[in-house]
Every structure is written in C-alpha cells, then in structure tokens.
Symmetry: C2
Subunit: 415 residues, 2 copies
Amino acid sequence: MTASEIRALFAVASRPEVVSLAGGMPYLSALPLDVVGATIGNMINERGAVALQYGSGQGDPQLREQILDVMAPHQIEAHPDEIVVTTGSQQALDLVTRIFVDPGDVVVAEAPSYVGALGVFSSYQAEIAHVPLDDDGLIPEALDETLTALRRAGRRVKLLYTVPNYHNPAGVTLSAARRPRILEIAERHDVLIVEDDPYGLLGFDGDPLPALRASSSEHVIYLGSFSKTFSPGVRVGWAVAPHAVREKLVLASEAAILCPSAFSQLTVSTYLETHDWKHQVGLFREMYRERRDAMIEGLEECIPQARRTHPQGGFYVWVTLPEGLDSKAMLPRAVTERVAYVPGTAFYADGQGRRHMRLSYCYPTPSRIREGIRRLATVVNAELELQETFDSRPGARPGGPGPRAGVQSPGPEIT
Amino acid sequence: MTASEIRALFAVASRPEVVSLAGGMPYLSALPLDVVGATIGNMINERGAVALQYGSGQGDPQLREQILDVMAPHQIEAHPDEIVVTTGSQQALDLVTRIFVDPGDVVVAEAPSYVGALGVFSSYQAEIAHVPLDDDGLIPEALDETLTALRRAGRRVKLLYTVPNYHNPAGVTLSAARRPRILEIAERHDVLIVEDDPYGLLGFDGDPLPALRASSSEHVIYLGSFSKTFSPGVRVGWAVAPHAVREKLVLASEAAILCPSAFSQLTVSTYLETHDWKHQVGLFREMYRERRDAMIEGLEECIPQARRTHPQGGFYVWVTLPEGLDSKAMLPRAVTERVAYVPGTAFYADGQGRRHMRLSYCYPTPSRIREGIRRLATVVNAELELQETFDSRPGARPGGPGPRAGVQSPGPEIT
C-alpha cells in the first residue's frame, strides 16, 4: 500500500457515510469556539503588531513560562530557557533527528511505533530497530538485549524513541515500575531518550505517572504538544532538552523555518491565560473516556475473537486479529462496508503488523463508534468464513505474509 | 562575529533609544488590526473546528486558489495543484535543499545573498559559489563562466538561488533584458532555479517584471510569501514547483511538520477574501517608498563618500563604505552611537563583505531613518579620521582582512 493508495483510502474514508476509526483528530467541537474566537480577535486588536510579526527562534518567553505549568502534572521541573517551541512536536522530532542521526545510524523504537516518527527516521536514512511492548509498555529486558546486540554488532544507536503514556498506536502505558529501569538501561548504553508525550494529560484516572524527564534532565529530550489538549491547527509543540542540545535545536529550527509562528504562540498563550484550560482538559478526558468505553464494549460484544488493549487514556485501541487475517488486505472491504481504520503495518518499519489494526475513538460519537465496530465485525466475520472455506482447500489459502512494507508517509490524516 | 555575538548586538539594537536599520520586519501597524482582529475572531467562531484542526500536507485548497491571484501580477500561470503551502518560504527553501542537495554539492547564489538561504545551504553541507551582481541584478556572463568552470572542475551544481526583485540585501532588481538570458544559461547547464520572491509586490513603480517562473514551469521553483505583504507572524509561504518536485516537497513537509498550520492558512485566506488586500499592498508601497526616499536623501547628504544602491522596491539599501573601512569592526561603535545595521559579511559564505552594510528602511519612520543615518555618518566620519591618523603612521594600520567568516545563523531578526 503506497502513500498515494493510503491517501485515496482516506479520501474515501472522509465521506460522511463512512465511520472513520482511522484518524487521530481531536474532537474540537468540544471547545467553546465562540469564546475562543472573541478572545483571539481581541488579542489581534490589542497585540497584533507583535502577534503578526517575526518572533524569536526559541519561542515566545511567556508561552515557555506557561508550558512549565502544563508540564507540572508530569513532575517535570525545568527552566523556560530549556524549552524550544516548535511547529508541532513533529518538527521537534525532525530537528532532533537531523541533529543526531547520520545515515546508517540506528534508532530504537517500540514495536509498534507512531507512524510519523518512523517517517522522520526513515527520511534521515536511519535504521529502525523495533523493541516489543506489552500491556505495561516497552519491555526493559527486550530493550537491554537489543541494545547489547546492536553494540556487539558495532552499530551506532543514537536515539531511543518512546511514547510512554497512552501509546500511539498501542494504547498502553509504561508502568511506574518500568520507568526507572528503562532510564537505567538507556543511560548504561549511552543512548539518548526521546520521550514523546502528546497524550499525557488525557489520562482517564487522574494525573499521569512521572515523566522519564522528571528523573533525568541529561539523558532525555521531552516532546510536548498542544495538538491533543487544545488545537492541532495552531501547530504548537515543544521540546525540553539538555542545554547543549537546546542550542543546536534553536539553530536548526532557525535554518528550517526562521521562527515558530508568533501568531499561533500568542493564540495558545492567550488561551492558556484567559481560559480554564485545566477544566477543558477535564472535559476532554470525560468525553474520550466515554468513547473509549463505547469502543471496548463494542469490541467485546461484536468481535470477541480479537485481542485488544485497554487504554487508560489517549485516543487508540490496538487490535490483534485472529491468526490468518490480514488487516491491510481487508481494508478496502472495510471501506466498502463504510468503516475505516489504520492497518498495523503502518506502525512498523519492517513489514510486521498485518494481524493488527489501530482503532481511534477520539473523533466519532459513541453511537457512531458502536456502529463502526458492528460494521467492522461484519467484515471480520466474512473474512473468517472465507478463511475457513479456503482452509478446507489446501494450497489455495489467500493472504499470508506480503512483501516487506517499508515506511510510508500516509499524510497528516493518521497522526 | 559569532551567532551569539550577533544575538547580543540585536538585543542591544532593540532598545528604544537605538535606531535599528538592521531588521527586515514589515511595519505592521499600517494594517487595520482592529478590523483584522474582528474578522479572525469571527472566522474562529464560525469555522474553528476546521481552522484549529489538522489540515492537508500540501495546504488548504482555497488558499492555493487565492495564491494564484496573488501571483497574477508576476504573470505566473499555474494550477493550484502545483502549489505547496509552507511554514514561511524559509521552510520551502529548507525542503527544496533537503530534496536536491547532498553534502559537497554546489549551490550557486548571488554575491551577496539572503543570509537565511546561506544558512540553509550550509546546514546541508552544500558549497556555495557566489556570482556577482550589479545594478541590473545577477550578471549573466559571470553566471555562465562560473557554471562552466564548476562543470569543468567536475562539481555537481544542484541549484541557482536568486532573488530577482528588490534583492535582499542588495536592493537591486534583475532587469527585463537579463531574465531570459539567466533562464537560458541555467537550462543549458541543467541547473534548477530557485526564484525567491518575497518582495515582488512591493515595487514602487507599479507591477513587477514577469517572474522567471512565468517563462519556465520546468526549470524554476518559485517561492512566495505573505510575510512582507501581510504578516510574517502567521508563517505562511509557498512553493510553485514542477509536478515531480511538488510530490517530493509534500512528502518532505509531512515528515518535517505533518502539515502547515490550518489556523494560519485560514487566517490568510479570510484576510484575502474579506479585505481589499491589493489596496493594502498599495499603502505599504507608498509607505516604504517614503522611507526609502528618507534613507537615500540622508545617505546623499550625510555619507556622500559611500556608494549605495537605489532600490525600486522592497526593504533594503546596500552600502559600500570607502576603502579601508570595516562594517563588522565598526558595528559595536555604531551601536554605541545608537544606530544598528547588518554588516555585509553576513551575506557571503566566504568572508567577503567587510566594506558593505545592509540598511533597512522598512520599520523606522522617515524621521527616525534620517536620525539613524546622521548617527551612522558620525561613526563613519570618526572611522575615516582614525584611518587618516593611522595611515600617516606606516605599519600601524588597524583592520584589514579578518579570518574567513563562514556562515552564521543570526536568527530571525535579520530576515
């Protein structure tokens, strides 16, 4: 499935009659758009000559102060000078990779991993080494083994990329017990951790676990984002980085875009200042929890044959189909049944993932989610029947492992 | 002068008592900020769920249609599908370089050239070959000679980077007679032209000359920007590129930032739709023409020893100091006299430019510009006196050629 094929599928999936469980778009209609509009209009009226002007390469000083408050629940203590504001956290990921990774270097990442990160690493010709995760997140023993094997093979491992909270796409969270072990292993192997945390505030059971960055300011680059808690359209994210890295990030960002948008930054800053953003995050949590419940109940009821994760926050459930089913081959049939998802192969650099799929519950309403799961069940059951039929005719079985997938760029639709 | 030294100087230069002729910031107070604020507030109220959401990697379709109108005075005929919207045209420059330039490749650029472009080329380890310009812009014979010599030396020349209209920093415009010749030479040597045109609509004598892109859709990537005609703070620029390049640009942009800001794009689109933007550009032209006149008159009156260009649009006058003066060494003394400029060395990759300086007339009022030139004259005259004194004592002359400069990243302040 090429990038353009994925694009075509998403074009179909965006039709109103299709229930899309594919996209990672936050449900923005839950924001008080009239109030936000009035506030931003007023901000332009009063501070337009600053908001519409060039800004600093590192980002607006007041916003960097406010970001400290946003990170406080993660127990991150930092100085505003350690923060670099970027065009979404995607740009931070791109710049970190540009700074550290030479062609042929290895980046270690969870199996599965966020597709946009795999795209960045591939674009810098990094080799991606996957380390498995389970319901408690990245597996420390597997990480240690992989790093040891890579070192013995003489490979240069530059980064460990991880999404500890409400993982995209796996929906799992790195347990409290594992966090210090992951840190210890990365430090022992002298590998810098990139801790990507766009969903951290969207936990369904209160405050998040302490970030990896809370215990190590020298071995961790923390990436944050306003995309899931306020707006992805403003493209405002940030990195918290050790001093030497921070300087390089600013220079690289200035070469890439001169400076992040002052307009977007002052919009976020004004929003944080004038709205009860913590209350709004609470509303988002309740809404997404209800949608998660609808999806989990639907899966239990309609597709009991599939294994699934049980996210405690964030946007995604990771589904493992019964043996022999192929989520990628199945997708066109699912779209015909008016339901869409992202096949698991998108989240691996090495062609794995055909039995998996990512289901998003962030955007559709609970009743649409239930309808989507019913439609998906129809497709899965039809596939299983087909499989039984073919299994009774030896040698005629469809599917099986396809060609190595390689990393595709599926566009911003499946963030 | 290191990047941090330049930063420190700009920090001083931003004090209210200093007349800064350094920055390239448009004078945004000329915009009707109250009306713009009300319009944008209304846009968020009505279309916030789209404006604050993820968008497409290539950019908003309606904005891409509107960009065709903006380019019409340049006689560019294109299809919206050929346009890629970027985070300022700086990002387009970064992506084009990322796609085409491998370490050691050559990029040909005017002497002097836009400092932000030199920074990008250096960050991809390109070698920059400068070709001189005169009052009619890039010199065709010199371009042909340089390209021929590079080819004979077995070098791979990937791009010709040029700012044909109201050049930054030189203030000159590529003449109508030279445009087809530059195109012919680049095509004959099979070098792709990157035509950077942020100032094209800001000519003081009516419509701009036809763009290079108007005559060649296959050998030219045209870069446009709303930074100088509306707002740099929204970070909205674009590239018009041949089909194959356009596809690569979109993929590279998605890896770098997922998608350009929908919020910024809808803001620009709404501004273009609801305001008489052509009238506003006309107001900017009149304002900048008045400021150019103030600067030229000041220079003629107070620093007649200096040569200078006579810009027909844009933001900059390029000054050549009398033999022996060094604009870089002189800058701290100028800041002490409460006037700032950018030393010429910033605009060369090879340490040239010590006799030159870029003076911007875009931001200060005409009376402040005259005051700034008077202060600059004090510094220049003191330097000339000092030179005479030392010249009468053989062997004790200060200044002279310094170490090779290399390209610095001076931050977004001197765009």
